[in-house]
C-alpha cells in the first residue's frame, strides 16, 4: 500500500514535470543555500582553526582599542617600553614581540612588488612560528642600530627574485635600500585568504624610522610560557597595561588582550554574520517553498476531486486518502531537498575553490537538510491532504 502510494506519487509528479519543478524550486533554493553555507562555513572555520593551531595555542595578541580590526583609533598605540615592561614583569610571558606593519613596494632590478612590511625584533620569529630556509635573522646590533636589513617571505622572493637565492641582494623599499639576510619558510594561505608569505620583516627601529615615522607599535604578540596559565597571564597583562596607560578603576580598558580562541572568533565573526544572513534567506525560501507545495497540493486536490470520490466510493478509508496526498507532498518536497543537496555540492566545491577554503563534506548536514525538506512536505501537505480525505464521496463524484 505504502509502496504503491509512493509509486503513484512519483507518477503524478512525472506527469507534470514542469509544474512539479516550479513547485519545489523554493525548497531547492532553500536547501541549496543552507547546505552550501554550512559546508563553506565549516571549511572556513576549519582553515581558521588550522591557522590558529599553527600559531600555537599559547599565543596572546594585544591590540589598542576595544574593537578588532580598523576603527580602533582613539586609543593610544603601544611603545617599546610596554614590551620591555612585559618582558621584565610578567613571568608567564615567554616571548613578547612588538609589531608595526606598513604596506610598501619592494623593488629589485626591474621587478617590483607591493607587500606588507613588518617591523619587529628577534622574538617575532619564534612567537609567530616562523622558520628560515636560507640565511639568518637580524642580530642585536642590527636591531639597536635600526640597520636596513630584512628577512623576506617566499612570495616576495618569488615575485622579485624568481628562483634565485635572494640572500645578500639589495632590495629597494621606498627610498632606502635594504639587504636581504634571510628567507622565511613558506606558511601558505591564512584563514582569511591572506598570503602569509607575502611579507618582509625588518628590525622594529628600521621600520619606525624609515617607514612609519613614529615610535608607535601597532600590536604586541606574547607567547605564554609552557605550564603557565593563559588566563592568569592575560589578567597580569591587563593589569600591567592599565597601570602603564593610566586607566583609572572606573574606566574601561582601551586595549584588548586576546587569546587564540578569541582571535579565531574575531576572524570568523564576518563569516558568522554572512552565515546568519544566508540562513535568513534560506529560511524564507524554505517557507515560500512550503507554501508553494501547499498551494500545488490544494490545486491537485481540487483537480482530482472526482478521483478522490472514486477512491472513497470503492472503499478507501479517510486515513488512506490522507496518506496518499501526504506522501505526494513529501515525495515532492524530498525531491526538492535532493536537488538542493546536489546543487549545494556543486556550488560548495566551486565556491570553496574560489574562496580558498577546504571543501568538507558533512553527511550530517546533508541528511539533516533532506529530513528537513521531507518535514516541510508533511507540514505543508497535511492541510490539503486532510481536505482531500474529508471530502464527501457523493459530492466529490459529482464534481465537474
Amino acid at each position: 500500500m505504502l509502496w504503491n502510494t509512493f509509486l503513484l506519487a512519483l507518477r503524478s509528479i512525472r506527469r507534470n514535470v514542469l509544474r512539479s519543478f516550479l513547485t519545489i524550486l523554493g525548497i531547492v533554493i532553500g536547501v541549496a543555500a543552507v547546505v552550501t553555507m554550512v559546508t563553506l562555513g565549516n571549511g572556513a572555520t576549519k582553515s581558521v582553526a588550522d591557522q590558529i593551531s599553527s600559531m600555537g595555542s599559547n599565543l596572546l595578541l594585544i591590540l589598542p582599542g576595544q574593537r578588532f580590526g580598523p576603527g580602533s583609533s582613539g586609543a593610544p598605540n603601544f611603545k617599546v617600553a610596554d614590551v620591555e615592561a612585559i618582558r621584565n614583569q610578567i613571568a608567564g610571558a615567554k616571548l613578547a614581540a612588538p609589531v608595526v606593519t606598513k604596506v610598501a613596494t619592494a623593488v629589485y632590478q626591474a621587478q617590483n612588488w607591493s607587500t606588507s612590511v613588518v617591523g619587529s625584533d628577534d622574538q617575532y620569529f619564534e612567537s609567530g612560528n616562523w622558520e628560515l630556509t636560507e640565511g639568518r635573522i637580524f642580530n642585536d646590533a642590527e636591531m639597536r642600530a635600526g640597520k636596513a636589513v630584512c628577512v623576506i617571505g617566499s612570495t616576495v622572493r618569488k615575485e622579485l627574485f624568481g628562483g634565485q637565492n635572494p640572500v645578500g641582494a639589495d632590495v629597494r623599499i621606498k627610498q632606502f635600500s635594504c639587504e636581504v639576510i634571510g628567507l622565511l619558510k613558506a606558511k601558505g594561505q591564512s584563514a582569511m585568504g591572506r598570503d602569509q608569505d607575502d611579507t618582509v620583516v625588518m628590525p622594529l627601529r628600521t621600520v619606525q624610522r624609515r617607514l612609519a615615522g613614529s615610535q608607535d607599535i601597532d600590536r604586541i604578540m606574547v607567547s605564554v610560557r609552557d605550564g603557565a596559565s593563559i588566563d592568569a597571564v592575560k589578567d597580569q597583562l591587563t593589569l600591567l597595561l592599565r597601570e602603564r596607560r593610566n586607566i583609572t578603576s572606573s574606566e574601561n580598558d582601551d586595549f584588548r588582550v586576546m587569546d587564540t580562541r578569541q582571535i579565531a572568533e574575531a576572524l570568523t565573526s564576518t563569516t558568522k554574520i554572512l552565515t546568519m544572513l544566508l540562513g535568513a534567506v534560506a529560511a524564507v525560501s524554505l517557507l515560500v517553498g512550503g507554501i508553494g507545495i501547499m498551494n500545488i497540493m490544494l490545486v491537485s486536490v481540487t483537480e482530482r476531486t472526482r478521483e478522490i470520490g472514486t477512491r472513497l466510493a470503492i472503499g478507501a478509508l479517510e486515513s488512506e486518502v490522507l496518506l496518499q496526498f501526504l506522501i505526494e507532498a513529501v515525495v515532492l518536497s524530498s525531491l526538492g531537498g535532493l536537488v538542493g543537496i546536489a546543487l549545494a555540492t556543486v556550488a560548495s566545491i566551486a565556491l570553496a575553490g574560489v574562496m580558498q577554503v577546504p571543501y568538507l563534506f558533512s553527511a550530517g548536514i546533508n541528511a539533516l537538510a533532506f529530513l528537513f525538506s521531507a518535514a516541510i512536505g508533511v507540514l505543508f501537505g497535511y492541510f490539503p491532504a486532510r481536505r482531500a480525505a474529508r471530502l464527501d464521496p457523493i459530492e466529490a463524484l459529482r464534481h465537474e
Partner: protein, 234 residues
C-alpha cells in the same frame, strides 16, 4: 422475508438542508432486495433514485428509518466502517465512468485490490481476468482517453466486479452511451447477474434498458410508486 434478503430498507427518509430550506428527497422507502436480483430503478428526474442508491451503496446515511445490509444496521456505522463495507461487498458503476485519467485500463481495474492489499501479482491476474470478462482482452494498456465510451464503461464494470462484490450498483450506467453500446452493456450486466450471481441494482430512464432487469421499482416524488417483476403488474 426469505433468508436470501441482503438489503432491507424500512421507512427510509432523507432530508436535505434544514429549517425553511429543508427538502425531503425520500419520504419513507420500504424495500427488500434479494440475493441475485436484477433490479431496474425508474422514475422521473428528481424523484429520489440517486439519493436512494447512495444510501443503498453506503455512501450516504438516511435521515430516518433503518437500513440493513446483510443484517448490519448501516445507519449506525461510522464513515470508515461504511467504507469497509463498500470495499468488501459493493461495486459501483457511474454514469460518467469515473476512471483515473492517464492511467491504464489494467491499473484502473486494480485500484480496488490495492485497498484490499492484494500483492501485485494477484492484482494483475485478477484485473486481467476481469477485463477479459467484460470483453476487453488486449486493451489492458490503453488509457481511458484511448477508449470509446462503451469501452470505458466496460473498464468501470471490470473495476466494480474485480473484487467479486455481492451487489453491483449502477446509477444510469448507459446514460452517456448510444443505444447499441447501451445494449452491449446491458447484455454484460445480465451475464454477470445470471452467471456470477451478482445482485445488480441499476437506475435507468430508458424502458428498453429496464427490460433487461427481472424486477422494476418505480420512484415518484420520494416514494416507491410501483414495484413489480418484469412483465407482471404489481
Amino acid at each position: 422475508m426469505s433468508d436470501r434478503t441482503i438489503i432491507r430498507l424500512s421507512g427510509i427518509t432523507k432530508t436535505y438542508g434544514s429549517g425553511q430550506a429543508a427538502f425531503q428527497a425520500l419520504k419513507g422507502i420500504d424495500l427488500t432486495i434479494d440475493r441475485g436480483d436484477f433490479i431496474a430503478v425508474m422514475g422521473p428526474s428528481g424523484s429520489g433514485k440517486s439519493t436512494a442508491m447512495n444510501i443503498i451503496g453506503c455512501l450516504d446515511t438516511p435521515s430516518g428509518g433503518s437500513y440493513e445490509f446483510q443484517g448490519v444496521r448501516v445507519e449506525r456505522l461510522s464513515r470508515d466502517q461504511r467504507a469497509l463495507l463498500r470495499r468488501h461487498f459493493l461495486g459501483f458503476v457511474f454514469q460518467g465512468f469515473n476512471l483515473l485519467a492517464r492511467t491504464s485500463a489494467l491499473e484502473n481495474v486494480e485500484l480496488p485490490l490495492i485497498y484490499r492489499r492484494h500483492p501485485a501479482g494477484v492484482r494483475h491476474a485478477a484485473a486481467r481476468e476481469a477485463l477479459k470478462q467484460v470483453g476487453l482482452e488486449g486493451w489492458e494498456d490503453h488509457t481511458p482517453g484511448e477508449l470509446s465510451g462503451g469501452q470505458q464503461q466496460r473498464v468501470a464494470i471490470a473495476r466494480a466486479i474485480v473484487t467479486h462484490p455481492t451487489v453491483l450498483l449502477a446509477d444510469e450506467p448507459t446514460g452517456n452511451l448510444d443505444t447499441r453500446t447501451s445494449e452491449e452493456i446491458m447484455e454484460l450486466l445480465t451475464t454477470l447477474n445470471r452467471d456470477r450471481g451478482i445482485t445488480v441494482v441499476m437506475v435507468t430512464h430508458e424502458p428498453d434498458m429496464a427490460a433487461y432487469a427481472g424486477r422494476m421499482i418505480h420512484f415518484l416524488d420520494g416514494r416507491v410508486e410501483r414495484d413489480h417483476r418484469n412483465g407482471a403488474a404489481a
